[in-house]
Subunit: 123 residues, 2 copies
DNA sequence: GCGACGTAGGTGCACCATACACATACCGGG
DNA sequence: CCCGGTATGTGTATGGTGCACCTACGTCGC
């Protein structure tokens, strides 16, 4: 607009990938490549596979998920991930945090709209 | 619960500080130390002053805000910040992004609750 | 046979926001 | 005179994220 047109880094929540993966795994056992396709529906556009696999392995080591190799007749083997009880607990906690964030964003929106109205009235 | 009690990094949106500061400045001219007190109301608990002042100066250099030193009779001088037109534009854009994020979080919540219900029913 | 393509998983690395610690300066009160 | 509250900063480590790149398997087409 003004010339600068600075790139506006929108910004998803920090560590948003983990909650998303846990939710998807709560909906059913899956593997990395498939999860990659399902992530955009949760607001995660252009996820890099590297980070995804790293995240899955980290959660595996922490006991939030359980992994198992599943040989495939067509194509390379898949590593399937399953949510553990601890992972389900974690999901519950993080869902609460996201709900709190959602409330903060609602507050933000309310105050933003009020400030816009005040600005419009002043013109 | 299980013993680990892993620290859950909740995670506010990336670059959330900027939108918050711009909103607060849209509500009225202010200075750093005062903004520091107003941030918790927008979900930002325990903000470090360093980052705050850095952020304000960065936005000043980018032309999103305008700063002016205001001498004080009691206590040190204050640097007051005022929103520019460009900053208001930026605020509008970023508010849209946050609204989009809010929608993603709503989707997340819906799917989470459905997955919980399915899990309860299975027991 | 062989290269190209889609599937599937993985490593290395640089960047940048954030977090934490610490420094400076002004003023008033005990 | 030191201390606490106000107010603004600097230095630096950490860690999530993004980008580039790599391996391996199977299949289709030439």
């Amino acid at each position: 607009m003004t010339g600068g047109a600075e790139e506006v880094p929108v910004g998803l929540p920090r560590n948003y990938l983990r909650p998303c993966l846990l939710l998807l795994l709560a909906e059913g056992t899956s593997h990395g490549y498939e999860l990659l396709d399902q992530l955009p529906a949760l607001g995660m556009h252009r996820v890099d596979p590297g980070g995804l696999y790293r995240c899955l392995r980290a959660m595996d080591q922490e006991g939030l998920v359980r992994s198992a190799w599943e040989p495939s007749t067509s194509g390379p083997a898949r590593r399937t991930y399953e949510l553990t009880d601890e992972g389900r607990e974690w999901l519950h906690v993080v869902a609460g945090s996201l709900a709190e964030l959602s409330r903060s964003l609602a507050t933000y929106r309310r105050r933003y709209q009020r400030s816009v109205q005040r600005h419009e009235r002043r013109r």
